[in-house]
């Protein structure tokens, strides 16, 4: 995994006299899915627009896959796709024409254009609507088409600004699956959203922005991950189990919550197996062990606190 596939240094951006980004800097590894989080007005959309080369910062540098976005914006555009928070589609064109145009403006040749349009339509589930005009699609389908346009040329980096906004639960589930699939195919993805629980489904990293500053960049999985949080269900007295847990090196903070035990844990699945065996050997009546969920939310809110 290249550690600095997306490399941002000392980025400063102002709207009029308002500083939207102030000395923002971070590196994102290739193949990561980064949840870009922060309150309204934190600078998330501005940061994405700077990454895409749509806004020129006052100072700082942005490099994507080694390409300086400010020096070579058009070369950078071939390597990235940007799905914006509004529907950037041509309503009077059909789905096919929209996708062919999206592929063509990134310099794909004739054969690749056709193939790309079919692939992108399939990826977002629009294959059966290729001849339908974009303006006749529902909000959710137009959103999908906007995503398909952004990924038609199979960019190495996909930037998504509030992709789940306005989508129904089924479409959101579909979107999560799409992001996982694209990531599995090697695409590096940055997703900005307010819905942290969904971001948690597929994010490997979290980048938190606050008042235009880069407040936190954290890995959510792998060796560099912050400790994951688990809930242990059991029957009987929790205190013995808690004492037993605290003897293990992989266990961090642990506490009793509503008759269960919540604890942070740094081990792999085999270590979890040993943990369970250890507890059972001690006579703890374990009923279940599961991640607590809301990990990203807690991480974000923890940073906020």
């Amino acid at each position: 995994m290249t550690a600095d596939f997306v490399s941002v240094r000392s980025l400063v951006f102002e709207y009029g006299t308002t500083r939207a980004l102030d000395q923002v800097g971070f590196d994102l590894p290739a193949g990561s899915v980064t949840a870009l989080v922060g309150p309204n007005g934190a600078g998330k959309t501005t940061l994405l627009r700077c990454l895409a080369g749509l806004e020129r910062p006052l100072a700082g540098t942005v490099a994507i896959d080694g390409v300086d976005v400010l020096d070579q914006p058009r070369l950078a555009h071939t390597r990235l796709g940007f799905q914006q928070d509004f529907f950037g589609v041509y309503d009077e064109l059909t789905v096919r024409q929209n996708l062919l145009h999206a592929a063509a403006i990134q310099g794909l040749d004739r054969h690749d254009m056709e193939e790309a349009s079919v692939w992108a339509a399939e990826a977002v589930g629009l294959s059966d609507r290729m001849e339908q005009k974009a303006g006749a699609l529902s909000r959710g389908l137009r959103q999908r088409l906007a995503i398909a346009r952004a990924l038609a040329h199979r960019p190495r980096l996909l930037l998504m600004d509030e992709p789940a906004s306005g989508l129904d639960p089924e479409a959101r589930r579909h979107l999560s699956a799409l992001i996982r699939n694209l990531n599995a195919a090697g695409m590096t993805i940055v997703v900005s959203s307010h819905i942290l629980s969904e971001l948690e489904d597929y994010s490997t990293h979290m980048l938190a922005l606050r008042d235009g500053h880069c407040a936190q960049l954290a890995a959510l999985g792998g060796d560099d991950a912050v400790l994951s949080r688990w809930r242990l269900g059991l029957v009987g007295d929790c205190r013995d189990a808690l004492a037993g847990l605290r003897t293990l090196a992989e266990v961090g903070e642990a506490q009793i919550v509503g008759g269960d035990i919540e604890f942070t844990f740094s081990g792999d699945p085999l270590a979890r197996h040993h943990l369970l065996r250890h507890l059972m050997d001690q006579g703890v009546m374990v009923t279940d062990l599961a991640p607590t969920g809301g990990h990203l939310e807690k991480l974000y809110l923890g940073e906020k606190a």
Partner: protein, 427 residues
């Protein structure tokens, strides 16, 4: 050429073809044109070729300029312009695709007019026809360029852009109103021959060639703005090149036959042309605080150059040429110094107004220009004549001490600009 082939060559043109050339519209245009010609014929009009000329004017200039401006403004309104900005295509290709594609329907109509021309009574001279076609495209390019410039001033601007761009496009496109053609009209008074850099040219072909070159500059201008929209640094090169061309073009008329004008005259005329273009650039450049800060924060000279406002190198070139003219025996130095002081004053005033006021800055600047260059000289003349006027304006044979006036104005304007900058710069 198939749709996918054209998509590969120029995606924007193909997109426009999909949108503009629907079957209904394809049928409607020739039907309407045929109805017009038949109607005119039945009404007893002899010279239908002349009417085809009018139809071309209507299609290419009146309608085409509107379509050209709308091709950009509509995309901004619909939120699809950012898609175009994210593309990897050549800016010139995108500019041409948008220009020709956005106006393809009127060009389709123009093509029908050309088809009909050999079969109708009357004649339309080849030069005039070519002039209309080139003028049409020039006008459309001008309209598109103005629409993009207005967007650069205020990205949230929605109303009025199209109408204003259309008006400028029409002015730029009508051969008798276009800048180059107007100049040609003046020289036409000298006879059917034009003397330019010692050569003799027929007025018609000379004007036409000038129109074609002007069209090339318009296209370059649009491509330059598109390039900037795609994320590239502004770069002052294109406008500087345009200014140098215009300087050379203007001075070319000084060389009549074997007459070689003295250097101070050539440099002086070139300086005047450069100063005029610096003013044009100055008025059409938005002074966003971020642009100025970006320039100040640029880490090296190459980046500083690429971020320079386009009028600045032209203004410096005009000053250098003016100084060269004075140094080699042209007008007296005090006159040139006074002119330079007023030049600095005007730049500082434009900067102040642009920085301090968000809206209607152009109107404010126009009022200021009328006051300073229209009303004030008249008032000064009526009160104290040339003697008083020399304290405010560059005046021939004025005592050197009167230079204090223009210098004081320049200083005051610079102080105002400095105050405006301090107030607006924020962080």
């Amino acid at each position: 050429m198939s749709a996918s082939s054209l998509l590969q060559v120029n995606p924007e043109l193909q997109r426009c073809l999909w949108l503009e050339l629907t079957p209904t519209r394809l049928v409607l245009m020739p039907v309407l044109l045929a109805l017009m010609l038949v109607g005119l014929h039945l009404a007893g009009t002899d010279d239908l070729a002349e009417w085809i000329g009018y139809a071309l004017y209507f299609l290419l200039l009146l309608w085409g300029t509107r379509l050209a401006a709308e091709s950009f403004v509509d995309e901004v309104v619909q939120g699809t312009w950012d898609i175009q900005r994210l593309s990897a295509v050549n800016p010139l290709g995108l500019a041409l695709g948008k220009l020709v594609g956005g106006t393809i329907y009127v060009w389709y109509g123009a093509a029908w007019c050309l088809v009909a021309l050999p079969f109708v009574p009357g004649t339309l001279e080849g030069t005039e026809l070519t002039s209309i076609l080139i003028g049409g495209l020039s006008g459309q390019a001008a309209a598109l360029m103005v629409a993009m410039l207005l967007h650069a001033f205020d990205a949230s601007r929605r109303r009025g852009s199209t109408a204003l761009a259309q008006v400028v496009g029409i002015v730029a496109g009508i051969p008798s109103l276009g800048l180059a053609a107007a100049l040609s009209s003046v020289v036409r008074e000298w006879g059917t021959q034009i003397h330019w850099f010692g050569g003799q040219f027929e007025t018609g072909p000379f004007t036409l060639a000038q129109q074609a070159i002007t069209l090339g500059w318009w296209l370059l201008g649009v491509a330059w703005l598109v390039r900037r929209q795609m994320g590239h640094a502004p770069s002052p090169w294109p406008y500087l090149a345009f200014a140098v061309y215009q300087m050379a073009f203007s001075t070319g008329f000084l060389f009549a036959g074997d007459l070689v004008p003295p250097f101070p005259v050539v440099a002086g005329i070139a300086a005047l042309a450069g100063a005029a273009l610096a003013y044009v650039g100055l008025f059409t450049t938005p002074w966003h605080v971020a642009d100025v800060k970006r320039l100040m924060l640029a880490p090296n000279w190459a980046q500083r150059w690429s971020l320079l406002p386009s009028w600045l190198p032209v203004a410096l070139l005009a000053v250098v040429l003016g100084a060269a003219s004075v140094a080699s025996g042209g007008r007296e130095w005090s006159l040139a110094a006074a002119a330079l002081a007023l030049f600095v004053r005007d730049i500082a005033l434009v900067a102040s107004v642009r920085l301090l006021s968000r809206r209607r800055t152009t109107l404010l600047l126009t009022v200021l220009a009328v006051l300073l260059y229209g009303l004030l000289p008249e008032v000064l003349d009526s009160i104290g004549g040339v003697t008083l006027r020399a304290w405010i304006f560059p005046t021939l044979d004025a005592p050197a001490v009167t230079l204090v006036g223009p210098l004081a104005q320049a200083l005051a304007a610079l102080v105002l600009a400095g105050w405006a900058w301090t107030r607006r710069k924020g962080h």
